[in-house]
């Protein structure tokens, strides 16, 4: 299914902006028709991803910017969070992405403790790519009946 709209935003890698991105996802998800509960899940998931990116950017003394991409589809919202300032090449990123492997040492994502665990629990699909910095790609479906692989992803422990 083709993406209907793609929204990209870039914010400084500072904790102050976690709330700003949260309001943005709330607006987009609300426009798409997500339920109140799902919007709350999306707000937490995106905050976790941004918080991880903020921590990562600080420790690496990176450019200090986080890029967030929202892929709006008819039945789902795909959110990408990258801890570098570069623009997304949507297809290129999606090619190099795979399911999160718990044996992989991704110290910066682990720093939040429960962050990634919550993203997994609250989103329908989560993929991590760390070839170009760290990129989190997470998906939430509007219609819960569409979620066929929820358990497979969220019970990786």
């Amino acid at each position: 299914m083709e993406v209907l709209d793609f929204i990209e935003m870039r914010v400084p890698a500072k904790a102050e902006y976690v709330g700003v991105v949260r309001l943005t996802v709330s607006g987009i998800a609300s426009r798409m028709g997500f339920s109140y509960e799902d919007i709350e899940d999306l707000k937490i998931a995106i905050s976790e991803a941004i918080t991880n990116a903020v921590t990562h950017a600080y420790s690496e003394e990176d450019k200090g910017e986080i890029t967030i991409g929202f892929g709006v589809y008819e039945n789902r919202l795909e959110i990408m969070v990258a801890d570098h300032g570069g623009s997304f090449n949507l297809n290129k990123i999606k090619d190099g992405i795979g399911p999160y492997n718990h044996n992989e040492p991704i110290e910066n994502l682990r720093e939040g403790g429960f962050g990634l665990f919550l993203i997994n629990a609250l989103m329908d699909k989560v993929e991590i790519n760390n070839k170009f910095g760290v990129i989190v790609l997470m998906t939430k479906y509007i219609d819960e009946a569409e979620v066929g692989f929820d358990d497979q992803i969220s019970t990786t422990q």
């Binding site: 904790a15 905050s47 918080t51 429960f114 919550l118």
Partner: protein, 110 residues
């Protein structure tokens, strides 16, 4: 996107009232305020989260830290009046088994 912290002390009892959002931005302030209370020995600390509309894992981390600190100093820490959304995070992560938590029951104080 702010967090207001009000602390009321009465002998060994410390009541902390939180209003707003707990995230990476507001967390450092909360951590500092909680630490001031948990380093005192023999206190009964109660944190009221009724007015907390949003919390993520940064909040979980802070309450775990506060619990550890309270135990080290022979104090107790209890979280009360959590909204469903906030309580859910403790449940998902299994922290509701470790911490003393009393959520709001069906939209009202129990």
């Amino acid at each position: 996107m702010e967090l207001d912290i009000r602390v009321e002390k009465d002998n060994d009892q410390i009541a902390i009232f939180l209003t707003g959002e707990i995230d990476a931005f507001t967390a450092p302030k909360l951590k500092e305020e909680l630490a001031k209370c948990t380093v005192q020995s023999g206190k009964i600390i109660q944190v009221d989260l009724e007015q907390v509309e949003y919390m993520d894992s940064t909040g979980l981390g802070i309450f775990i830290g506060a619990l550890k600190s309270a135990k080290e100093h022979d104090s107790s820490l209890k979280l009360v009046h959590l909204q469903d959304r906030v309580f859910r995070l403790f449940k998902i992560t299994g922290l509701d088994e470790i911490m003393d938590i009393k959520p709001v029951i069906q939209g009202g104080k129990q």
